[in-house]
Each structure stands twice: as structure tokens, then as C-alpha cells.
């Protein structure tokens, strides 16, 4: 059962194609994210689902029924706006009751529903407060409560964490995921922050220049990206351009620009006859020391970037490349200026044809 289905949706603004032939299904009760850089068309796509824009081609179905002819206020998809758009002239309670009153719920039931939803988002008793009295995280929860009280088929979230400071954002990520479990509603979340998408989602679609590059569970995107764009956008990667010298046993021998030669596995879809490639290696795939198989490079430690479990060693190779190597909590014990060998296994390096989708 799919709550939301988009079928070859296309939207053009003049000669610019904002959303290009996008299709996807979101299973009921799942958390689906659309991840892409700003300007990739993800907001336009969301606005079409909410009904603020009309697609030029394609169809949008909610619970199996096309909603293209429905006005925004007739669609049972609710939206949490980027800056939340809470009504400043109403109290918290009035904000939440607004939708219920528009729907024509009986006055006697509204108060109970408002209290119930405030309980569920963990803010009981704030209904008489003004919006300006709430903290950033509280506003966030009220914006979600205002939508959830209407029991939507799909909840759309348009980068709602963007305005929060880092600490609160980390906290709200977990909280959003828990709220989604609790309400068992389908969430469609759009963001340019890959860690938000990876942490919260059941499925992520990576969008670039109006198209979906890949749809899949976060782990899949991270480990088996289908394109150079996905490999570069999702998670951290070392990224080098180069040329394929020769292929053997499905492994490419790549001569990197500026020297060095490495082994890499062509990504899904193969390389075709593309000789110009980009090689992606995750920092955590690289270990310090020489390896029996795979690829070994030598260099010197340029600097140490301590960041707890995300610490990195920056290694400068003989040819001047800077390579990020994961160094959990600085356990490797190397010092700046040390000569060092690094290696990775051939299958941990992926290469994609340059410029190919």
C-alpha cells in the first residue's frame, strides 16, 4: 500500500526544467527523504505535492487517488514549512485548532484534540502561550502538532531543522524520528543535509538537477552509490579525477591526475567506454599501514583533525594530493610530519565515468 505516488512528474519554469520526470512510491508509514543540493528541484516537487504548483506532466496520487484537480486546502497532505509559518497572532492552542475549525469539527471536540496532540508531542499545557514565548525546538513540535492533529495521509517537511542551531538540530533529528514512529504517519522530508536524511529515513532519494539519481535505504546509498554524484554527496569521500589505464578482473587501474596509480571498482552500471573517471574512497575505508592486497600509497602526515569519533588524518602523498583518513579518536598515534603508508582494499574504492549520470 502506497500513501504517496508520483508518476513521471515534470515541472518547467519557462525554459528551465525544475523537476524532470520524477517517479517514486512511498510505502505507508515510512519515513522518506529527498536529499539534494539547493536548487535541485526538491522544494518544487514538495510544493506540487502540497498543491501550490501544478506539474506540467505526470500524476500525483495520494492513497491511490489522483489529487491534481484538488485545491491545496482539499488535499490531505499537511506541510511543515521551512520557517514553520506558525501564525504569530494566534496562541499555540489557536494555531493547532485552526485546521480543526477549518475542517468543521464540533467546538466541543476541538479542545480535547488540541490537548491530546500537545501531550503526544510532549508539550502539555502550553495552549495559552504566545508563539513568541516558545523556544526553537518547541515551535518545531507545535508546527508538527498543528499538522498531525488533522491526521494527514502524508506529512511534508521542508527542511524544518535548517533554522535551528547544531545541538538542537542533532536532538530534533532523533525526536522527529520518534514522532514519526509514534504517529505512524508517512513522512516526506526534504533536506540538503545528508546526515539528517541518513539518520532519520527508511528510504532516501538523492535528487540532482531535477532528477532522482538513486532511491534506496540509507545504507545502500552509502555503500553502493550508483553515480558519482551520489557517492560524492552522501557521506564524506576522497574524490580524485583520473584516467583508466586498463581493466583486469573487473577492477580498473586508474592513473590519477597529477600522478599516483590506484585500483578501483567501477560503480553500478559500469564505465562503458568512459576513460575519464572519478575515484571515490571513504575516509574510513583507508587504514594506516601497508596492506597485503589492494592499494597502498605513501605520504606524510599534513595535519591531524581531531573531532572525537570523526577524527581525521590529512595525508599528503608524494604527488601533493591531500587524502582524508579516518582515525577514530586519534588512536593511530601518528604525529604531524611523520612519514606514513596508507592502504585500502580494491573494492572499497569506487570509480564512475566523469560527467555520466
Amino acid at each position: 500500500m502506497y500513501d504517496l505516488r508520483c508518476d513521471s512528474v515534470t515541472k518547467r519554469f519557462g525554459s528551465f526544467t525544475a523537476v524532470n520526470n520524477v517517479s517514486f512510491d512511498i510505502p505507508s508509514g515510512s519515513f522518506f527523504s529527498i536529499l539534494g543540493p539547493s536548487g535541485c528541484g526538491k522544494t518544487t516537487l514538495m510544493r506540487m505535492i502540497a498543491g501550490f504548483e501544478n506539474p506540467d506532466q505526470g500524476d500525483i496520487l495520494i492513497k491511490g487517488r489522483s489529487v491534481l484537480k484538488d485545491a491545496p486546502n482539499k488535499r490531505n497532505v499537511k506541510m511543515v514549512f521551512q520557517h514553520l509559518a506558525l501564525f504569530p497572532m494566534m496562541t499555540v492552542g489557536e494555531n493547532i485548532a485552526y485546521g480543526l475549525r477549518c475542517r468543521g469539527d464540533a467546538k466541543s471536540e476541538i479542545g480535547g484534540k488540541v490537548n491530546a496532540v500537545l501531550d503526544r508531542v510532549g508539550l502539555p499545557g502550553v495552549e495559552d502561550k504566545q508563539i513568541s514565548q516558545l523556544s526553537g525546538g518547541q515551535k518545531q513540535r507545535i508546527a508538527i502538532a498543528r499538522c498531525m492533529v488533522l491526521e494527514p495521509d502524508v506529512l511534508l517537511l521542508d527542511e524544518p531543522l535548517g533554522a535551528l542551531d547544531l545541538k538542537l538540530r542533532e536532538h530534533m533529528k532523533i525526536e522527529l524520528k520518534q514522532l514519526q514512529h509514534q504517529f505512524e504517519t508517512t513522512f516526506l522530508y526534504i533536506t540538503h543535509d545528508q546526515s539528517e536524511a541518513l539518520v532519520m529515513s527508511d528510504n532516501v532519494a538523492v535528487m540532482n538537477a531535477g532528477r532522482f539519481e538513486q532511491i534506496g535505504p540509507p545504507k545502500d546509498l552509502y555503500e553502493n552509490p550508483v553515480s558519482g554524484f551520489v557517492a560524492g554527496f552522501v557521506g564524506d569521500s576522497n574524490r580524485w579525477g583520473g584516467r583508466v589505464d586498463r581493466m583486469s578482473d573487473g577492477t580498473a587501474h586508474v592513473a590519477l591526475d597529477g600522478g599516483d596509480s590506484v585500483l578501483a571498482t567501477p560503480g553500478a552500471g559500469g564505465l562503458g567506454d568512459n576513460r575519464e573517471v572519478e575515484v571515490f574512497v571513504r575516509p574510513e575505508a583507508i587504514s594506516v599501514g601497508r596492506g597485503a592486497e589492494g592499494c597502498t600509497l605513501s605520504g606524510t602526515v599534513d595535519s591531524l583533525l581531531f573531532n572525537g569519533a570523526n577524527s581525521r588524518i590529512l595525508v599528503r602523498t608524494g604527488t601533493g594530493k591531500l587524502i582524508e583518513v579516518a582515525d577514530q579518536a586519534g588512536v593511530s598515534g601518528v604525529n604531524e610530519g611523520d612519514a606514513i603508508d596508507i592502504h585500502w582494499q580494491g573494492h572499497r574504492a569506487l570509480c564512475f565515468g566523469k560527467g555520466a549520470a
Binding site: 502540497a50 499537511k78 506541510m79 514549512f81 494566534m90 485552526y98 475542517r103
Partner: protein
Amino acid sequence: MRSDAGKLSLILLMAPFALWILLLIVLPQLGIGYVSLREKVGPGQFTFGFGNYMDFLGEPIYWNTLLRTAWMSILVTILALLVGFPVAYYIAKIARQRSRAALFLLCLIPLWVSDLVRAFGWIVLLRETGLVSGALQWAGLISGPVELLYNDVTVVIGLVYTVVLFMIVPLVSTLDGMDDALLEAGYNLGGSRFTVFRRIIVPYAMPGIVAGCIITFMLTAGSYLTPILLGGKNSSWFTEQIYNQFITRYNWEAGATFGVLLLGFTSLVIWLGLKLTGQSLATTVAKD
């Protein structure tokens, strides 16, 4: 030292404004108030008391004129709001960024021409031998010339035309600050166009609406040229009474009394308006 310099610059910067307020507003008003309490008992002989105010209450033509002025000013204010709101909404929310400034400037252009000339403009259009009368005759809709001046409708139209700009400006600035996402959220949560207008746009714009209403009401009630020129002898505008007392009848005491009464009465109307809409001066006219 720093705070002394700060104090000095505050005094120097505020001095022209303070002098202006003191010399041109406060002192004359005190003078008017003083004169209004003076009763003439003989040539050059005065006593103090509320006799002038009693005279006002005892003469129905006086307080009827004041009430009529207040009612017509309220009517003009409401009409200016009805005319000005869509214009302001268009400028602030619908027009593109580039045409916005041009449209706003278009609203200001009438101010480049003096009140007097603009009132004569209406006279040129509406008099018996004017453009409108001529056009109607040419079209065969009326058989003879028709006088469109010197009636209440013309006065109201002329006043709305004069003051509507002062309604538009505060409305544009309030509506301009409204995030479009609020409207979209209003629709998204199930509101119809009417609901969004009534529950989101109007409450949001309320400070601007009230500020615009206060300014237009005060300007209208205190206007002189437009009602006199377009309404003629029938206009019975309260400022005309004040003028008559001061200039024609040389009765400064009565004129001063009327002046105080006009100020007091319009202030009362505005206070009532603020109470009814639940706003205060701090949230409307004095809003930054």
C-alpha cells in the same frame, strides 16, 4: 564623559523636534484651551468658566455639525479602507518586486499637486458645465446639464480620494512583512480563501489597518479645503464652523471652544476604535 556626550547629542538631535512640538503644537493648544475657557462679559472684559461649552451644547446646529462631521469621517475612513486594502495587498503581495516601487510611487504622485489644485480638479470634472456632465449629455443619457457638486456624495468621494494614500502606506508596510508561507500554511491546513483572509490576513494586518484608520480619520475630520470646495454651503463641516467663528464672526472664544471640542471628540472616537479592536497606539501607529 561618554554618557555626557551621549546626553548632549541626544539633546542636540532632539532639540528641533522638541521645539517644533512645543512651539507649534503644545503652546498653541494651551492657548486655544485658555481662550476657550474665557467668557466675554463686556468689551475687553472676561471671566473664566465653561460658558462657551454650554453655548455649544445649547445650540443643536453646532453639535449636529460635529456629529455629522464625525459620522462622515468614519464613513470616509471605512471607504478608504475598502478601497485601499486591495491596492495595498496588490502592491505588497502580488506585484513583482520591480513594479512594486513604481506602483508605490504612482500612489504618491497626487501628493505632488496641492490639495487646492486637486479639489479644483474635481470641480472641473463635476460642475454643471464640467466633463462628466458634458459626456453624459453627449452620450444622450441625460437631456440637460447636471450639477454634481455640492452634495454629500461628492464630498465623501473627494475626501476618500484625498486620504486614501495615508491608508495605503501603513497597510503596505504591514502586509509587506507577512511571510507568504503563512498564507500557504493557511490553505494547507484546510482554510478556504475567505478563512485565510479573515483569520490570517486581517489579524496580521490589524496594526496597519488601525494605524491607517487613525490617520485617515484624523485627517478627514480636520480637513477644510475639500469639504468646502466640493460641498459648498451644504457641507456643514465642523472645521468650517471653527473658521466662521474665528474669521467671519471674530468670536475667538467660541472658535477656540470648537477647536478643543473637535480634538477631544476625534480623540474619543479613536480611543473607542482602539478599545473595540483590542489594539493600542503602541502596537499600531508607533509600531517600528
